[in-house]
């Protein structure tokens, strides 16, 4: 294991994790009928926008999420610290955001359809995840429900 990689794992293991009394467990329709969306914590955004955002209005308390139309592939990864090797993302967007793989599954009839949009969050979140639990999370879920999404694939980065 890469030393930097292990260091990040060790650090992450020290972070407080919210505890939930109940697990939100639902049974979706059959996969061949399900509409599937991706939610990632890769801080993805349209190309060029992230550099402008960092230069002009980056704020540690900015917990917003990005809406990524399904047909958009020209994306940037917003994480800029060298705490993990991002060469994989540079070589293949799908290793972080498997949007082409989902389209292939839809074309093959394995899944019912791919959502019109997917969603991206950044890793900076307040202690206790209050913004995610009370604001951005419900807002993102509402958008997916309006799009008829049945299954959400979470890809942490």
């Amino acid at each position: 294991m890469h030393d930097n990689d292990q260091a990040m794992r060790d650090f992450a293991a020290t972070l407080a994790v919210p505890e939930f009394e109940d697990t939100a467990f639902t049974t979706p329709p059959a996969l061949r009928e399900a509409r599937v969306a991706i939610v990632t914590s890769a801080a993805l955004s349209s190309s060029g926008w992230i550099s402008q955002w960092q230069a002009e209005k980056w704020d540690f308390a900015d917990f917003h999420f990005e809406t990524l139309p399904h047909d958009v592939r020209d994306l940037e990864l917003g994480h800029v610290s060298p705490n993990f090797d991002r060469a994989g993302f540079a070589a293949d967007l799908n290793v972080v955001y498997p949007v082409d793989r989902l389209q292939e599954l839809a074309d093959q009839g394995v899944i019912g359809s791919v959502a019109a949009s997917h969603y991206s969050f950044a890793g900076n979140q307040p202690e206790g995840l209050s913004a995610l639990r009370l604001d951005t999370g419900p807002a993102c879920a509402k958008k997916m429900l309006e799009d008829g999404v049945d299954v959400v694939l979470l890809t942490p980065v």
Partner: protein, 87 residues
């Protein structure tokens, strides 16, 4: 946190689908993840059987430029804009 369905993958950080430019591998990960939907009760946590280990001594690669300098901040924080986004 007990998410309803989770597939644990032992890969280097930043590669949740495992191998770039390997569609077959990525499809195996997705197939295993979607198979969790068939579980009648949860939470469910399953280990994916294929692991990937980083090679020691590999240099880190950064495809992005460092964040811009912010001269209004103290010297030790002038590049702090992006650092917090790693967590």
């Amino acid at each position: 946190m007990h998410p309803p369905r989770a597939l644990y993958v032992e890969y280097p950080l930043g590669l949740p689908l495992g191998k770039p430019r390997d569609a077959m591998f990525q499809h195996r990960v997705l197939e295993a993840a979607f198979a969790l939907l068939e579980q009648p009760t949860g939470p469910v946590l399953v280990d994916f059987p294929e692991t990937i280990q980083s090679k020691g001594g590999e240099p880190l690669a950064c495809a992005l430029p460092p964040p811009p300098l912010r001269p209004e901040l103290a010297p030790g924080h002038r590049r702090s804009t992006g650092a917090a986004r790693c967590i």
